[in-house]
């Protein structure tokens, strides 16, 4: 029966090619626009580390200005930590895993004379960085506690840097000159790009991860420059690098891995105690206001999904509504032209149910065709978005299977909904009424 209805649907398309074409185009445009914007929003709001995003917590303590909150409304704690707090909290080791972090940069001087010196970005972190964030290794491993404590000159290279400096070969054990110092390569990452770059969203939530990874205390040891954002509410007391590290300036991030809600609660009370202890030393002039947000809460707090992307998504939903209204109107017109045929079919014994099925198949077919066409338009739309936004959105503008399935389901549903009223009207045509001669 289904096949027969499909055949009838095709006959009906052939009889009204312009109306059918308009309907398919309208659905396709609506689906195309919606899918383009949904995809961008979906990728922007994706969970970058689904297997443990609810166990990773971003650490915030309110070390800010007594007169002004870091944010006034709502009163949230600063988005980064001071050196003092980052190192104190790390030394306490109260979490299952923990890493304080900072962003820096330095010049790499490759030993091969064929490769010019170049500047690379650095992520300063603790050994737990790699297991905490499930960072994939191609060669070697991260460093150990000893390397953190002894401030060893060891480095983990990103895949790109290893490709560039060591032609992609296993470089573990080799040495490499960074910031004028000879470092030992102990690991090389495999391709790794968490989207968003959740562990540090300060310089663009969709930036590439850093080129080099090295022990955190090298910041102090080598006096590595501050990259990323530095924010101070109070001028450092004294001049120079040490004064900066001892200041109330924030330039450091910290994450902890806590397995259970109890662990989280315990860590929170540890933080509160820590801040109270610091208050006795004359720091933390503001009321207690510490925060532990997990990955997705932190992404939400940092407004990782751009406002523009959301505005576009809501506008494109309205666009889809217009396209559906359009389709309902056209469908209604098309069916009303067929009232004679419907009356005849009813008169020769077709039940309302049969007719309902038949016309639902017909509208469904229109929707499916519109959906397929809409997918093509969405692909074009995403190419357009990539063109417009450049490299920033390169990784955020691709369709995956979920999105393709969603597009087809959405278009089918939309068109069947759009067809419901016209179909219902068509089925209610009295058999006799249409058989009278006009």
């Amino acid at each position: 029966m289904f096949n027969y209805y499909i055949k009838l649907a095709f006959n009906s398309f052939k009889r009204n090619p312009i109306l059918t074409g308009l309907m398919i185009t309208a659905i396709a445009l609506g689906i195309g626009a919606s899918m383009t914007t949904i995809t961008v929003n979906y990728l922007m709001s994706a969970d970058p580390i689904p297997e443990k995003s609810s166990q990773l917590f971003h650490v915030q303590v309110d070390s800010w200005d007594p007169n002004h909150g870091f944010n006034d409304e709502p009163n949230t704690p600063p988005n980064q930590l001071t050196w003092t707090d980052a190192t104190n909290l790390m030394s306490a080791k109260k979490a299952f895993r923990q890493t304080a972090m900072a962003k820096s940069g330095a010049i790499i001087q490759p030993s091969s004379p064929d490769i010019n010196p170049f500047e690379a970005s650095i992520r300063l972190a603790f050994k737990d960085f790699f297991p905490m964030f499930n960072v994939p290794f191609k060669y070697g491993n991260g460093w150990d506690q000893q390397a953190d404590d002894d401030r060893q000159l060891v480095v983990v290279l990103s895949k790109e840097i290893n490709d560039k400096v060591f032609a992609g070969e296993n470089s573990v054990g080799n040495s490499i000159v960074i910031f004028g110092q000879s470092f030992r390569v102990i690991g090389v990452l495999d391709a790794w790009q968490p989207l968003p770059k959740f562990y540090d969203v300060n310089n663009g939530a969709f930036d590439e991860p850093e080129d080099l990874f090295m022990p955190f205390y090298l910041k102090q040891e080598l006096e590595l420059p501050n990259w990323g954002n530095t924010n101070c509410w109070k001028t450092p007391e004294g001049e120079g690098f040490t004064a900066f590290l001892q200041s109330e300036c924030i330039n450091f991030q910290m994450w902890v891995e806590l397995k259970t809600p109890q662990d989280k609660q315990a860590y929170m009370s540890f933080l509160n105690n820590y801040v109270n202890d610091q208050k006795e030393l004359g720091r933390f002039p503001r009321p207690l206001n510490n925060q532990l947000l997990n990955v997705m809460q932190w992404m939400d707090d940092q407004d990782v999904v751009a406002d523009d992307a959301q505005i576009m998504m809501w506008l494109s939903f309205m666009f889809l509504v217009v396209c559906l209204l359009n389709t309902i109107g056209l469908q209604l017109a098309k069916f009303s032209a067929k009232s004679g045929e419907i009356g005849l079919r009813r008169a020769v014994g077709a039940t309302k149910r049969d007719l309902f099925m038949q016309y639902t198949v017909e509208t469904g077919a229109v929707g499916f065709a519109g959906g397929l066409f809409g997918l093509v338009l969405a692909l074009l739309g995403l190419i357009g978005i990539r063109q417009l936004y450049g490299e920033v959105l390169n990784d955020l503008a691709s369709l995956d299977l979920t999105m393709i399935a969603l597009a087809l389901v959405l278009s089918l549903l939309a068109s069947i909904c759009a067809g419901l009223y016209p179909t219902w009207r068509a089925c209610n045509i009295a058999p006799a009424s249409q058989l009278k001669s006009q």
């Binding site: 309205m318 217009v322 017109a333 978005i385």
Partner: protein, 416 residues
Amino acid sequence: MTDSKSPSFFAENWEIGPIFRALLRNKVGAMLIALQIAFTMTIVVNAIYIIVERSDKMQRPSGIDEANSFYISSVGFSHDFNSLVTTQEDLNLIRSLDGVIDAVQINAVPLSGSGWSMSLQTQPGTEFDGTGTAVYMIDEHGLNSLDVALVAGENFSPTDIQTRQSSQTHWPDKVIITLAMANRLFPDEGLAALGKTVYINDIEPMIITGIVDQLQAPWVGWDNVENVMLTPEIRDAKSSRYFVRTKPGQRDRVMNEVESQLAKSNSGRILRDMRSVEGTRLRAYRDNSAMISILVTVMTILVIVTGLGIVGLASFSVNQRKKQIGTRRALGASQLSIVRYFMLENFLISSAGVVIGAALTIVLNIVLVDAFSLDPIAWYYIPLGMVALWLVGQLAVFGPARKAANIAPALATRSV
């Protein structure tokens, strides 16, 4: 029927009553078109409003000679690298090149998105609030390189320029600020701010020795983008950025020359991030221009879809009513009155649509203002949007109406 021999347009009966009654018999169809028009208007008006807002933002001048300026960074790495000597040598070299108007070491560039900010206050003490401002550190060549004009006071002199170490916290005692900053610090005093003392780091005094007409901070999305201070400093840092202004039309040639000459002059450093200010502007406003392009595309397609929908339905209804139209023509209705029938019918439907549309437009705008802190829409966008959608409807229906008018009266006599 009305008198077809005296087709005085206004004297005729426009048949609004019959049109209205006919519409009531096909309520759903008419409602669908009206709703389509309403939603289309809602999207179009709000989209145009966002577009206008964004392009106004993009029109703002940065204050520098954008077409003829570029910048380049030098980062030293060799053990014997001497930052101050290199900077001075580099600047001498660049300034001596043919086609260069002037060059300066600067810590940040307008439109580039990254820079320094400090806070200035008019009274010393931690208890007083400051006004946030971007900081550009320049020497006596700075104003000429940036192409900003003094409106009061004087430029820095070579003896004003101090060396700034990295991690240094104290500031020189002279400062040049923008007129906008002067007005923020000393409301309504404007140029009279010249010579006054402001405080940085809560208590360190600085004297305003100059006021420039206009210069933007590096962050185009910042609310106080016109708040800028210029300090007489040369930075002693391995990483140094040079801002170069060239004679008109020479920028690209000078860019190549600066890059190759600097590369040759010192092998203990690398050069990076050479960019024209024009390129920087494109990057700074890329999100805005992308949003504009997307909204324009969506709007255009939407209007076409709505228009085609109206054409489709009107053609269909013309086909359905062929016999009636033929009858009317046979009874003496003029072609004009047939066209007018369909145009008026559409006008009535559109009117309902644009009234609903006006309400929806306001609702959507309130939502957008609420959720994304956009500005509320200006009132005149709404009547303009209504007129535009009326026109779209009339244009769309005109074709089918013409077709209807061409139906031969004889058609009425044929059996279907």
